[in-house]
């Protein structure tokens, strides 16, 4: 399939004797919103960690835009064009909101330790570009009024938004969102859904892990259902909703 941006081929991950992901194959279509769903402990976050290099597969392959990612480190994978968020929000609590996003511009700037030491920030042109790009993300996510607030003080909903803004700042081709709506109220969840659709319109492929079925069925182009590390079904939201295996997995048979 030439139109897929991410291909998982017979992907397997063992933790000692436990098989977290078991010979799973999945293609993620370029420009789509694909959701991974499944009961807790099904291996969804493990797949995210495999794709982003935090874990390395026991066997099988991960291909991103034709390149095999198996043994590559997380920071290199970010440079290749995969951004992510975390299930338990990982913002930098002591840095301000704008600084958090500015960290996301790391890959799009170059100043090293020597150059950074000798010139004050206002004399460095790159610093202005970093700030401008961060402000753009801030506006996109409507977080302007919090720009100079320490990120740790934001409510959870805004922290999740900030984490996405930061991941978008690296200008990824593929964005992995790990339960972006968990802990959000109904109104915030709707806003999150709209945001994810906007991200899709920016030509960024989205891979989503989410437990909020309404959100998943609403925005996904494609849904993959995982249980005990295996792919048990995939298809359009409508197909998944009528799949007997899926219903069995969710209702415990």
């Amino acid at each position: 399939m030439s139109n897929s941006i991410l291909e998982l081929q017979l992907l397997r991950k063992n933790f000692g004797g436990v098989v977290a992901v078991s010979d799973l194959s999945l293609d993620i279509e370029k420009g789509s919103i694909t959701s991974l769903i499944g009961p807790n402990g099904a291996g969804k976050t493990t797949i995210f960690n495999l794709v982003t290099g935090f874990l390395h597969p026991s066997s099988g392959h991960i291909r991103f835009a034709g390149r095999v990612l198996n043994k590559i480190k997380p920071h290199t994978i970010a440079a290749i064009g995969i951004g992510r968020t975390f299930q338990n929000v990982q913002i930098f609590p002591k840095m301000s909101v704008i600084e958090n996003i500015m960290v996301g511009r790391h890959l799009r700037s170059r100043a090293g330790i020597f150059y950074s030491s000798i010139l004050p920030p206002f004399l460095r042109n790159e610093e202005k570009l970093i700030r401008a790009a961060a402000e753009k993300q801030l506006t996109f996510l409507e977080l302007e009024q919090y720009a100079h607030v320490p990120a740790g003080g934001l409510p959870l909903g805004n922290q999740r938004m900030l984490e996405i803004a930061r991941a978008l700042a690296i200008e990824p081709k593929l964005l992995l969102l790990d339960e972006p709506a968990s802990g959000l109220n109904a109104r915030e969840t709707i806003a999150m859904g709209e945001l994810i659709e906007k991200i899709k319109q920016m030509n960024i492929t989205v891979l989503l892990v989410e437990h909020d079925m309404e959100l998943v069925m609403d925005i996904s182009d494609h849904v993959a259902v995982i249980n005990f590390g295996r792919l048990i079904a995939e298809g359009s939201p409508a197909e998944i909703q009528e799949n007997d295996d899926v219903i069995a997995a969710y209702l415990g048979e």
């Binding site: 480190k73 920071h75 975390f86 609590p93 600084e99 500015m102 950074s116």
Partner: protein, 338 residues
């Protein structure tokens, strides 16, 4: 540098210039010169501990390497003090790199263990390698530093020189903190996973900042050797490394100013204690210099219990607190609801 920090930097420069006009006693100027050496090491250590979140209990060893390289090369091989200082820096870069690569690749406080071990090794070498280091009797005849052929003879001259180096270090530290690299370091401190997911090479950054902080210590050691003209292993024990960490922790880990205040406060403390002991003597209490350790320990304990963010941030938040308190008072008076 941002607004507040520029103002702080300006205040620092003014104080550096003004103090010799107020304090004319050479002995106290000498004490301030020692404070400058500690400040220099602590600024580096603050970048490493406060910003990158890595703990080193061995920076005294880098001070020692700087001091001994300078001492040996100038007194035994008659090198120029500047060249010897540069050589010390290069040695420290190599050492810090080889120490940092294995220790910093791992998550957790392995660097603290590695540097602690390293500090005691360096001290043992300084005592035992008599042919090289002069052993317990040390190295004598280390020349004074010259500035463009002009030898820094008086304490006041050395004071101005060493504090200019501190001011430069503060300038460098603030530039770094407010840069792409500085944000990367703070990000690593905040969450290593998130930092690497944004493309930050964690090991490389940790090693780089470890090397930079070691270089600051090395320069501090070289300047110490040129000021004293004599070095022995005494001041370079493991306790000196612990003292440097204490200075940074007391002042405030997350702030360059905190490191500066901590370094100055604890450098002046022995003078204050000996001053105090004279008064206690009058009251019939015999204060021994050995008690200093007890006082240091108590200070660290009290700071950690009541001002865990250090003196600087602790005072700053107290000040903010009182401001909002007055704000509330003013608000009540004018009938505004806060």
């Amino acid at each position: 540098m941002k607004g507040k920090n520029s103002a702080g930097f300006f205040a620092l420069v003014i104080s550096i210039i003004a103090i010799p006009f107020i304090i004319t006693n050479d002995y106290y100027i000498g004490v301030l010169v020692f404070a400058a050496f500690n400040c220099l090491a602590c600024i580096g250590l603050c970048l490493l501990m406060g910003y990158a979140g890595q703990i080193s209990i061995g920076h005294g060893a880098f001070v020692a390497i700087g001091a001994y390289t300078s001492g040996i090369l100038t007194s035994k091989l008659a090198w120029s003090p500047w060249l010897a200082m540069l050589c010390g820096v290069l040695i420290v870069i190599v050492v810090a790199f080889s120490l940092g690569i294995p220790a910093l690749r791992l998550k957790g406080h392995y660097l603290a263990m590695a540097t602690l071990g390293f500090a005691s090794i360096v001290h043992i070498v300084a005592v035992a390698a008599v042919d090289l280091t002069g052993g317990p009797s040390g190295i004598v005849n280390i020349p004074r530093l010259d500035l463009f052929g002009y030898v820094l003879n008086s304490d006041t001259q050395y004071y101005y020189f060493s504090w200019s180096v501190v001011a430069l270090a503060v300038f460098i530290a603030f530039n770094l903190v407010n840069s792409r690299v500085g944000r990367g370091l703070q990000a690593i401190h905040g969450s290593e996973d998130a930092a690497s997911s944004l493309g930050i090479n964690i090991t490389s950054y940790k090693v780089q900042i470890f090397i930079l902080s070691a270089v600051f210590s090395s320069i501090s050691g070289s300047l110490y050797a040129y000021y004293m003209n004599y070095i022995d292993p005494g001041p370079f024990g493991v306790m000196h490394s612990v003292l440097l960490v204490t200075m940074v922790a007391v002042g405030g880990l997350h702030n360059i100013w905190g490191a500066l205040i901590g370094a100055i406060a604890l450098s002046l403390l022995p003078e204050f204690l000996s001053f105090l002991s004279d008064y206690l003597q009058v009251l019939g209490i015999h204060y021994q210099p050995d008690y200093d350790t007890l006082v240091y320990g108590s200070i660290l304990l009290i700071i950690m219990l009541f001002l865990p963010e250090g003196i600087f941030d602790g005072l700053a938040s107290t000040l903010r607190g009182s401001k909002s308190f007055y704000g509330k008072l003013a608000g009540r008076r004018t009938g505004r609801v806060q």
